[in-house]
Symmetry: C2
Subunit: 295 residues, 2 copies
């Protein structure tokens, strides 16, 4: 794994802290806000807030500092310090969360998150507009409707939003990534679609030109993006899926080698065995024997 | 709150157990499976599996019992007992998760989930097809692509799937609910859309006929569904949103009463104050004074 950007590292710590101690976290607000400024005194309202500027310009003040925000900016605010914003022409999304500090673990978690917020940049420039707005809107809906289980669902949505931010950061802030934000935004869903397609067609021949046609992309370009995102070209990835499916069928299905070979699109059990050995260094029969012995 | 169906109660316990101890949970598999039977010996593979029948018929065996499954059925499987299924004509979705038992809390969690699974019906009949398939497909994509943070994301997706199942159960298994599964399926997204619309138009007059036209539904029918889902008719809900927004503006914005009244669609600060007092029993000025004093 390539060296990560400091913001990505902090985001990962934040996600880890939240998911390990989810029962101490409570998402207390999620809303869309336009034009009217505000003044949150220190220590009031939610412990932490994360705001996304969707439109216009804001001038945010925290701890004597003024930070300008424009569309695509994400703000991490520790409300211990308070913060304020002038009236203006803007739309932003916000959610806030509290950390229950009644137990020592909760107090520790609060301090941990506070330390992470202190190390995170106050403003993170993200170029992925539609996705962020979708995530915030989900939070907004969930807190508005308050259906059964919404408290837990809100925490999950918060973690998922942070993971999305982390993934975006990984792309736009890491020099090791060979995907541009534009490609990330445009192709993330495409890549996962293709992978599911490859899985559901583990036994079929995959034609790169056909696949390119399906998504209206140059096949070689599609392959390059796919490799950029997954680390493997499409054909190789399809082979890995075949091996995984073979293992599953060998271990649990009771089908014989020929039946498994047919299921995976091979013409004979011999060609299947040859392929399997090339990929895993043992034959399918050896694998099955190993499983039987270990039971 | 009305008395809950026993399955809903168990699902709630499961969700609670998982979210309180998320770091001990690992989603180990998520896949779509067709036609080929399987045999999972006791204690092998994932600790627990939850399977959804999407097409066809299955005959599932567990602990000497055979249970027939058809589209819409959700199976809860404790793999300590093992389970198997015959070849057939079917498609199902499955995900499996493990509980790390190296620490005492993990061991306790495992036993807790095992007890919940023992009390859950092995098969739960759900009528909400599209939503379940969408949830399972999300899990499937996430585990296939394995992007940064996927382990945590998978747990969140699992919890969200369980919450959706719980909400469906609440509708279809609770006699207290006045929403049919058909309405749940059809209108859940609609209701949250309307709520967000009401929030974004807190200062506008809401015309029920216009709203009905927007969603191509009889306005009275729309209002009835909305009340069934939220407990309040649309007009009343809009008033409650106005109060919430008023409180927010009074507490943080620095706007004066007339400005807030205008923002919320009142013609004067007097009519705003009258409305606010009717809803909260104190006037906006009194509320602001209270806040000042408590700082």
């Amino acid at each position: 794994m390539a060296k990560l950007d400091p913001a990505t590292v902090q985001l990962e710590s934040l996600i880890h802290a939240v998911q390990s101690n989810m029962s101490f976290i409570e998402v207390t607000s999620a809303f869309k806000w336009a034009d009217i400024g505000w003044h949150v005194p220190p220590g009031v309202r939610a412990d932490f807030e994360i705001k996304y500027v969707a439109r216009g310009q804001i001038a945010l003040q925290q701890a004597g500092l003024s930070i300008a925000g424009s569309p695509g900016d994400l703000f991490f605010l520790d409300n211990q310090k308070g913060h304020s914003c002038e009236h203006g022409t803007f739309t932003l999304f916000s959610f806030g969360f509290n950390v229950a500090q009644n137990a020592p673990e909760g107090k520790r978690l609060y301090e941990q998150i506070q330390a992470i917020f202190a190390k995170l940049p106050q403003k993170l420039k993200l170029d992925i507009h539609g996705r962020m707005i979708r995530r915030y809107t989900e939070l907004n809906k969930e807190i508005s409707v308050r259906s059964f289980g919404y408290e837990v669902n809100l925490k999950c949505l918060m973690v998922q939003l942070l993971i999305e931010v982390m993934r975006i950061c990984l792309v736009i802030r890491s020099s090791a990534s060979n995907i541009t934000p534009y490609q990330y935004n445009k192709y993330t869903d495409l890549i996962s679609d293709i992978i599911v397609y490859l899985q559901e067609n583990a036994g079929e021949h995959i034609d790169l030109h056909e696949l390119g046609g399906k998504y209206m992309l140059n096949p070689r370009y599609l392959n390059r993006i796919f490799k950029g995102a997954t680390g493997f070209p499409i054909f190789r990835y399809h082979q890995m899926i075949k091996v995984e499916k073979a293992k599953k069928l060998l271990s649990t299905s009771g089908l014989n080698l020929l039946e498994i070979a047919m299921e995976l699109g091979f013409e004979s059990s011999q060609s299947f065995s040859k392929f399997y050995k090339k990929m895993t260094l043992i034959t399918p029969s050896e694998y099955r024997k190993m499983l039987k012995e270990s039971e």
